[in-house]
Amino acid sequence: MTTELGIAIVNGVFRGSVYALVALGIVLIYRASGVFNFAQAEFGTTGLFVAYIGVELWNWPYWAGFLFGLAGALGMGLATERLVIHPLRNSSRVTLLVGTAGVALAAIGIQFWQSNEQPIRSMPKIVEGVAFQPFGAAITYQHLITLVVLIVVALALAVFFRSPSGLAIQAAQQEGTAAELVGISVRRVSMMTWGIAALLGGLAGVLSGPNLTFTAGFLSFGAGAALLPGFMAAVLGGMRSMPGALFGGLVVGVIEQFGNLSILSDVSGGGAMMLFLFLLVVLLLRPQGLFVRKAVAA
């Protein structure tokens, strides 16, 4: 039982680092545009497909394919901001939600279409092999790299939000009109936020893709589904806290792994059940999130 719990926790943390990357992007966009971005996971899948094209089809070196994938995600994020979010900026938030869901579905459709000849693909890992085995859970170098990237990204974001550009983003998010008055271009800030969020999504996709084989919609509802866990992580952090989203991601990863324990072996889809119950409990008991001291005015 202890070993089993240990495996669940270790696997959960490493799985959760992908969720945390997605959740960071969701929180960033929620703060900037006030929308639940359902396309966040698709930034990742698109980045993964683009990276795959670079590495496997055009035989580029891995780092070039990796950057190419991130560039693909970035392009998609900026295009989304320009073509969907900006025209809808005065609409209600639920309209925006439908808009981002439309972007996600369009991306999935195009991925299905373009990967028609070979629907199931696999991306090589950055470094092959198993790093170590705590409690017998095989932790690959890929997992380790993902966790390290998450930590680096978190630190970089923390530094960035204290730089002038980062402060401009925060100012525009808190009070758009006032920010305009002191000379911050809210349009540029919005583009920048969506760009950063898309990069985070792209990182999640390109880093988690090699763990499994992938298909269209990989991070939305495929084998590596990170959209719902990412949202749950963001909700745990109260939708506005970046550290909250990060730790939320790790917590959600572990909770999901608890669904695979042997006591639940009779139930199929234990992970999904745990996530649903956990989300209900969190939203009903602490809708302001677990990692915030006081409720944030919505």
Binding site: G102, L105, A106, F276, L284
Partner: protein
């Protein structure tokens, strides 16, 4: 009476300071000029005192009443012809009756699917359109209906006619339970709960082998007398008609007006004594019942049921077809659902013989047409034509009902949905 007061208000803004007799004279003059059929002596003496409070909008309606538009004989014949054409498309074409094309059995199968999708679209319309609450887990509702109906027919050996009410009841109960727990949340957070519920149903509920037959799926026989694809299509049409009728009557009831009020502004609605949560729950249950009926029919239509059919992508397509169809517009939602049902496997492309053109120009195979074009249609709808297909066809629909052809009928400026907390 209101007409008189507004008239006097508009023509004589000083009326409240004037004496009563002067105002009465003005009223008499204006009404005889602009609205001769209303009796001027209907205005009570004290009318002048309350003139200021009345909105001037009422005056516009008077002009409409003066000369109501009546189409001439030619107009009625033209409308009759279009009605007949529509009836032919709906009733005769799928059954190969008087049809220039030879449609196969699979084509009428698609037609039944389109009718079922229309039921599901109407079900989502109750939720998104009437209450402004969004459900991202509607595939679970449809799936529950499908599997309950299949279970009743296959494992309990009962008739289809028993299975549909049971499926509807179970669908209503699950919506009531989920709603009772989670309707404390609103807006985006509620959408998130339905998303989680959809995934939970897909993975956990539909994974119970005793209930759904597991990965392998389940064979579902059609009801007696409707085994044929053609007769089954008319059965689906009958259910669609029933759902349309219930939806229409419901929106004309007190509950329907309450829903419209709370969509506009939940806070104002509750200050007028409308129990916002109870009515939202009511709409959620109605939506669940409609979706389960759609699911039960879907199980019979495909005759083979696998849990993986009801995935998140299907939920997104349901939302797409409802929003593209046009929220709160029954005709639009039905057309939108039919279009998406036909787009899904490229049927529409095949019917119109477009696959060659699409394949050669942009290399888009017919089966992906819906997947790629559908979301783009959605994005165009919400950014450019928020009223959806309903807005596009509104002039024609008005014309068919015997009104004047007005290109600007049914104009909507935004896809309106409430947004309380999130």
């Amino acid at each position: 009476m209101t007409e008189h007061q507004t008239m006097s208000d508009r023509d004589n803004p000083m009326s409240d300071t004037d004496s009563v007799s002067t105002t009465d004279d003005t009223t008499e003059i204006t009404t005889t000029v602009s609205a001769p059929e209303t009796a001027p002596d209907a205005a009570p003496d004290g009318a002048a005192e309350s003139t200021r409070e009345l909105p001037p909008v009422v005056a516009d309606q008077v002009d409409d009443d003066v000369a109501p538009f009546r189409p001439g004989v030619g107009g009625w014949v033209a409308r009759g012809l279009v009605w007949a054409l529509l009836a032919w498309v709906v009733f005769a074409l799928p059954g190969n009756f008087l049809s220039p094309f030879e449609l196969g059995v699979s084509d009428v199968g698609h037609a039944s699917k389109a009718a079922i999708f229309a039921i599901i679209g109407l079900s989502l319309n109750v939720l998104i359109g009437y209450t402004g609450t969004i459900s991202l887990g509607h595939q679970a509702f449809v799936g529950v209906g499908a599997f309950v109906s299949a279970y009743v027919v296959v494992d309990m050996g009962l008739e289809f006619w028993v299975a549909v009410p049971i499926a509807a009841a179970v669908g209503g109960v699950q919506a009531a339970v989920l709603g009772a727990i989670s309707l404390r949340l609103t807006g985006l957070y509620f959408a998130l709960v339905t998303l989680a519920y959809g995934l939970f149903a897909e993975e956990t509920l539909f994974g119970i082998t005793a209930f759904t037959g597991g990965e392998g799926g389940k064979n579902v026989p059609r009801p007696l007398g409707f085994e044929d694809d053609y007769t089954f299509y008319y059965l689906c049409l009958a259910f669609l008609a029933a759902v349309l009728w219930v939806d229409w009557r419901l929106m004309r009831s007190k509950g329907g007006r309450a829903l419209q009020a709370l969509r506009e502004n939940p806070r104002v609605a509750s200050s007028y004594g409308i129990d916002v949560k109870a009515y939202t729950l009511f709409a959620f249950v109605v939506s669940g019942i409609f979706a389960s009926i759609g699911g039960a029919l879907l199980a019979q239509q495909s005759t083979f049921l696998v849990p993986k059919t009801f995935n998140f992508q299907l939920a997104l397509i349901f939302i797409l077809m409802t929003v593209v169809g046009g929220l709160r517009n029954r005709v639009g939602v039905v057309i939108g659902s039919v279009v998406f049902a036909l787009l899904e496997e490229g049927t529409l492309v095949h019917l119109l013989h477009l696959e060659g053109i699409l394949d050669s120009t942009i290399g888009l195979p017919a089966e992906f047409f819906g997947l790629v074009i559908g979301p783009i249609l959605l994005l165009l709808t919400i950014t450019l034509y928020p009223g959806g297909i309903g807005q596009q066809v509104a002039p024609i629909a008005q014309w068919l009902r015997g009104k004047k052809f007005d290109l600007h009928a049914g104009k909507v400026t935004e896809v309106e949905v409430t947004d309380v907390r999130a």
